[in-house]
């Protein structure tokens, strides 16, 4: 049995794809007219295509959309939050600042459990207690952390006691007395302090230069 040349089969395929040059198309047609085997192959190829194309168009099952949607990861809310951050950069920055700031202050409060106090020339220390002795005059503020303060003499300035006690005594204090025990108070105090500092920078601009 005579087998058809490969290039004829190739021509058939190209022809079916719609890109066979006209000169080759003529060769193919002449061949088909004379060769029964080629005719058979060509006929079968066409039949095959018709069969495949006739495969009825099937549709996705009912409820496919809902089922698909229910499988999607829930990204909506996250992207909503992301959008909010993008739209409010200033608020976001402020929020981040406050979170970091308070975290820093809280950790400051928690980690800093050591006894400390503002150094002034004529105070004495007994254990955890800072004492302004009788007859002495201290000028300036005193801040005591994790310890107590007793004023027997004179103090010209403010007193701040963190995590400790200010012991009332016979001494004279000309400034404010403040006792701070809790983390939140400490935070509030720190913020207030920061604002006070900021305010004093603005209001005492001139004075600072003179110093």
């Amino acid at each position: 049995m005579k087998t058809c040349p490969d290039y004829i089969v190739q021509y058939m395929n190209d022809y079916l794809d719609g890109d066979l040059e006209p000169s080759k198309e003529r060769v193919l047609k002449e061949n088909l007219a004379t060769c029964q085997d080629c005719q058979k192959i060509y006929h079968e190829l066409n039949k095959t295509i018709a069969f495949v194309q006739s495969a009825s168009h099937i549709e996705a099952p009912k409820g496919f959309v809902e089922a698909t949607m229910s499988k999607l990861p829930k990204q909506k809310q996250r992207s909503g939050a992301q959008r909010w951050f993008k739209q409010h950069p200033l608020l976001t920055a402020a929020a981040i600042f406050f979170v970091m700031m308070s975290a820093a202050l809280f950790s400051d409060f928690n980690n800093d459990q050591q006894f400390s106090f503002t150094k002034q020339p004529n105070v004495i220390v007994e254990g955890n207690t800072v004492i302004v002795p009788e007859g002495e005059v201290v000028t300036g503020n005193i801040k005591v952390k994790n310890g107590n303060l007793r004023v027997d003499g004179e103090l010209h300035g403010d007193v701040t006691v963190v995590n400790g006690q200010y012991m009332a005594s016979s001494g004279v204090i000309t400034g404010e007395v403040e006792e701070i025990d809790q983390a939140f108070d400490w935070l509030w105090y720190s913020i207030k302090d920061a604002f006070k500092d900021a305010a004093s920078i603005f209001s005492n601009d001139g004075a600072m230069i003179e110093e």
């Binding site: 089969v9 395929n13 190209d14 069969f51 495949v52 495969a55 009825s56 996705a60 496919f64 949607m69």
Partner: protein, 187 residues
């Protein structure tokens, strides 16, 4: 159509999940059909079609809107189908000899559901038979044939979906068509 789809995509990127439902609505039948013809099984087709939509949703920001969305989507689906087909295939060669059983190869030890006997084939409806023969094609020919004759896509688009040069796509269609011709010659 493309402008409409791109509008939906922009909404999805902004976080509007409902806009994606409209995209699924638009493409569900075509995508399901590709998966069904590739896999020859309704459950798997549904599974993979859903997976394809899910991946499209998750990666929607990587889609280049200057291109055709359907091409991108079909590409995801055909890749998933080919992966699935390859996973189902046992990892050994069928004609490798089974150790200790001289003359026996894996062909003789697998169940007959891979290739049906002649009388079973005759009983099949034409539709069923065509699907059966498509699913017997090697996966690389199968994808090309399905996209060309069932989805009726132009060759250039098929080449983009399969990420293959045009010449390779043509060769695969030729070979797939030739294989199908032989398989269906008794019909």
């Amino acid at each position: 159509m493309d402008a409409l789809v791109n509008k939906r995509i922009a909404k999805v990127i902004k976080g509007d999940q409902d806009a994606f439902a409209e995209i699924v609505e638009l493409y569900q039948h075509q995508l399901y059909q590709i998966c069904y013809r590739m896999l020859g099984n309704k459950h798997e087709a549904e599974d993979i079609a859903q997976e394809a939509f899910m991946r499209a949703y998750v990666n929607i920001h990587t889609f280049d809107q200057k291109r055709k969305f359907s091409t991108w989507l079909y590409r995801i689906a055909t890749n998933l189908c080919i992966d699935r087909i390859r996973k189902k295939k046992p990892d050994y060669h069928l004609d490798a000899e089974v150790r200790g059983a001289e003359g026996l190869n894996m062909y003789s030890s697998i169940a007959n559901d891979d290739e049906l006997p002649e009388d079973e084939l005759v009983k099949m409806e034409v539709q069923e038979r065509v699907q059966y023969e498509i699913s017997r094609l090697p996966d690389k020919y199968r994808a090309a044939i399905v996209l060309k004759y069932i989805e009726e896509l132009p060759l250039a688009e098929i080449s983009e979906i399969l990420d293959l040069p045009l010449g390779t796509v043509k060769t695969r269609i030729h070979r797939g068509r030739e294989a199908l011709r032989k398989q269906l010659s008794n019909l």
